[in-house]
Symmetry: C2
DNA sequence: ATGAAAGCGCTAACAC
DNA sequence: GTGTTAGCGCTTTCAT
């Protein structure tokens, strides 16, 4: 059996290709009887319109791309769930690209999205991203783009974020209130807004609360893979005067803090209080249970996708004017008690 | 500035479209000087060949699909990382479809992969999947397919799995050795080979070790969402005679067991020993640390993708004859001590 | 080394 | 309500 296509099906049914095409898309121009004939034959001969021929002709791909740092992180997993839920409802396909924090890869992937491969793009940038050119290029091609969580400040585009500053602020306040004297904010980037904003909230709270607060040491940067990060954190925990409070700006760091403490036999919360921006499911059953700034990851993904679809529909509700903010929730557990 | 395409670029450069096409793909037919002219112009005018026009003409999409139950599960996240690593190296694009254990969705997604949308498919089936017709259809279209982890027994195709039977067997032995008298195997499906094989290994070990072992009660099925699962597990933990050992066949169940125990104030491992098939990163820092059958998730994904690419290259190394098996590692931690 | 032209499978404008 | 046909942007013979 040869590969079926619209022309073969047309000749089998003695109908024109135009009629088939319209019937397949359930056009009102076609009679119900003909539609039924076409659908039945399509099923019988296993005919599905070639999506790329269709994309070429209609200049729509029915596909969106999601570019993000990684998937093995509960925040991003949940965000993908949200995105997928919307895409699926719209009959759209989702291309996933993982940058693993490499700017080079991010640029390559963004460029891959040009020339009609996708109708829209959702992106959470890498911790390395400093230049906006690759994104600007995409915008010049009129491909809608929506940032979620990790946005890029210099670019004007719709963005879906959480209340990073506030949460940084409240995290610091909580630790101070619990008696911490020497607190560090663990960051993964000097440029990512999620980090700088959370850090700024943290710093402002500290400056308000602690006299002679020394900003310069309060932010501790952790780059590299998990092992490097753990070593780096171990160094911090061994330094004097003893650090007694930590705000982890992302999930990954919190886990490394716990592992380092386990090795060093540092008791949480007795010797060290920890709170983390995290959606990790196991937070309540960790040893000890982890206080978290729980981000609405699913809703951030969902909302970003919904905005992207309105943009792709050619509508503009002014989303680019101001980031959409979905608040996080601070859940205190044993790690800060 | 109008949308660029090969014809416009050709007329700008006073070169034929054929030459442009060949130059863009670095054909040996084209002189270096011409190639350089073309590449420079392509950069200057932001020209990228339309991928769908190319796909239509060449009948290759440079895209693979991954269909899996969910992404918010460390096993699948890691598998996706492995898959993506291979795809990226080959310059391929990855479409992701999440079934959330719905067979209907799985069928829809598989059908979406027909008609040249993808060059190949990686799939981990839902716990509901019982009929192979949707997959068979794809095979009839000669689209290569590779199963990873959750395979479908009735279909002949390459499969990448782990040593499920052995690990089920050893898990049971471990719990017996640690003194458990009343052990349950928590399963999510009566048909999924990963469950039935793990269960069979478990049952065989139990039958060997325990006199008058009652098979009928030993497997406990958990379906539904997390809350339903937790309620169901709570019921089990409250029943008499007291269950004192649990093998969780998937990660998700282990977390629910911990949460149920927390609520019921059941002490692990004193009152209940737990071991789980899981790759969860937080296993060592749970309260108590969780003994796991740690699956080589990244390698399973990577290996499945590699096999898919050999198939798409038209090679056949007989992978379909026998599943590729990558062994898991049992790591005992405090939850079974 | 370069170019002309056919055609991948589909859609949409237009004719009937 | 159905059919004819041009052409989406590219690749690939086949000529030159």
């Amino acid at each position: 059996m040869e590969k079926i296509n619209i022309r073969k099906l047309a000749s089998i049914l003695n109908i024109s290709v135009a009629t088939i095409s319209k019937a397949m898309r359930d056009s009102h121009e076609i009679s119900d009887a003909t539609k039924k004939r076409v659908w039945d034959a399509a099923r019988k001969y296993n005919y599905t319109p070639n999506p790329y021929a269709s994309s070429l002709r209609r200049k729509k791909s029915k596909t969106i791309a999601v570019i993000l740092p990684e998937v093995a992180d509960n925040f991003f997993s949940l965000a993908i769930n949200g995105i997928q839920a919307v895409a699926e409802a719209k009959g759209y396909h989702v291309l996933i690209y993982l940058t693993h924090e490499s700017f080079e890869l991010e640029r390559t992937f963004v460029e891959d999205c040009c020339s009609g491969r996708v109708d829209g793009l959702l992106i959470s940038i890498t911790s390395e991203t400093q230049t906006p050119d690759h994104i600007a290029k995409l915008q010049k091609e009129n491909i809608p783009i929506v940032f979620f969580d990790r946005e890029f400040e210099q670019i004007t585009a719709p963005k879906v974020v959480t209340n990073d500053y506030d949460c940084g602020y409240q995290s610091a306040k909580l630790l101070v209130q619990r008696g911490c004297k020497n607190i560090r904010f663990l960051s993964i980037s000097e440029s990512l807004p999620i980090c700088t904003k959370r850090a700024q909230g943290f710093l402002d709270a500290m400056a308000e609360t602690v006299k002679n607060f020394g900003e310069e040491e309060a932010i501790y940067y952790c780059n590299g893979n998990n092992e490097q990060t753990r070593d780096h954190i171990t160094k911090l925990l061994l330094s004097r005067p003893k650090v007694d409070g930590i705000v982890a700006s992302v999930e990954r760091l919190a886990i490394q803090v716990y592992l380092a403490c386990q090795e060093l036999k540092i008791k949480i919360p007795r010797n060290l209080r920890v709170i983390a921006f995290s959606t990790v499911e196991t937070a309540p059953i960790l040893n000890p249970s982890l206080s978290t700034v729980t981000q609405p990851a699913f809703d951030i993904g969902k909302s970003a996708a919904e905005i992207l679809f309105t943009l792709m529909a050619g509508k503009d509700y002014g989303y680019h004017k101001k980031p959409v903010m979905i608040p996080s929730q601070i859940i205190e557990r044993d790690s800060t008690k």
